[in-house]
Amino acid sequence: MQRIINFILNYRNSFLYGFLALIALVLTIRSHSYHQSRFFNSSKWVTGKVYGNAADISGYFSLREENYRLVQENERLRKLLFNSPEKIQQTLDTTQLEYSVTNAKVIKNSFSSPRNYLTISKGSNSGIEQDMGVITTRGILGIVENTSSNFSTVQSVLNTKSNINAKIKNTDYFGSLVWDARDYRVVQLVDIPRLVPLVVGDTIVTGAMSSIFPENIPVGVIKKYDLNASKSFYNIDVELFNDMANVKNIYLIKNKNKKEIKELEELTVDE
């Protein structure tokens, strides 16, 4: 017994190392395969405050460009509004609408690691929930993963765990949008069958199969495509519309029917 205790005392630092390394490895492997940790993420108060203050300062330097971008979007939306065939009916009762939209600011962005997350400046106090869709003025950005009361983290489309339903515009051929961690400007669309006619430059938009995003949100254009190993599906490189290195203002989309859809899906799976 004395010897065992002596042994442990002699190698106590190695034991300490082993113990701490085990904790770190378990956390790493969990985050590789499952969702982001609920306790250790940058939506927490301290990290959020630090990033928020830094973003308040650095945000001034891109105000002009950001303003221009928002005005451009307004211009496009005005054009749509004035040229729509019949006047869009003004519904005063917003509770009837299927989607609600909230805006927020990105306070931390990352795009160089294989699993990228963004931190945004609104949380559950502003009605942000897990699995809300996130877009910018140009296109799709990601999905809300964790929220605290004032901040949230967003799983970017540039995340090897991301998997979003997307389709080729004006068709019903849909596939999954994934990322291979190589280039932050390019994501991959997989599972498009071989018989689909493709052209470089075709637009990719979000599909109708998801309860997170509304249909037809722009994603990007086809950059190049080839058949996968089994020669029956295409692997398509999609160049994103969004400049992932430079996102400031974002919109969060909430599908009000989502709860109902989820419940229905669960019922169907059970049987």
Binding site: Y17, L20, A21, T28, S112, P114, T153
Partner: protein
């Protein structure tokens, strides 16, 4: 003694802030984010308690991980580099390092830079392998490893000569 503790706490906080606010958002040439906080392991007193050193390294990595949403990659890499630091020191400074009166002052610049370089290499190698953890990306891993290590080494060498510790 208190002075050393205070100095290290100050270093810890400043390095975390510099890392997460400046170097994590650098994205030099699209993908290079140097991890300069590794220099904490280089600066940490040699004669300090080993267990305290390991725990501090663990905490440092964990905090950086929480900030950058890369759960526990930095932690594991920093902890392991801290654990093998004595080995690297023995390699760089030879038997001298075992003596009581050893200090950085009576080592050559080359020795110190080798020590720093090896620390960074060990840390980055572990980090990038764990980060992607896939053999099909081996070229990407190596590219990131080599470029980031070079930039980190360059920055850390500058930091170490800029803020060289005088009282240790």
């Amino acid at each position: 003694m208190n002075n050393v503790v205070f100095l290290n706490i100050l270093r810890f906080v400043l390095l975390v802030l510099t890392q997460v606010l400046i170097f994590n958002t650098l994205n030099f040439l699209d993908s290079i984010n140097p991890m300069v906080y590794v220099i904490f392991l280089y600066w940490f007193p040699i004669k300090g308690n080993r267990a305290v050193f390991l725990l501090t390294a663990f905490l440092l990595g964990l905090i950086i991980d929480i900030f950058s949403d890369t759960l526990a990659l930095h932690t594991f890499a920093t902890l392991t580099s801290a654990f093998i630091r004595p080995l690297i020191m023995r390699f760089c400074f030879g038997v001298n390092y075992e003596f009581q009166n050893f200090s950085f002052k009576n080592t050559t610049k080359v020795q110190r830079l080798t020590f720093l370089g090896l620390l960074i290499l060990a840390h980055h190698l572990i980090f990038f392998f764990l980060e992607i953890l896939s053999l099909s990306h081996i070229l990407l891993i190596l590219k990131k490893f080599v470029t980031t290590s070079l930039v980190t080494f360059f920055l850390c060498a500058m930091f170490s000569s800029l803020f060289s510790p005088k009282s240790e």
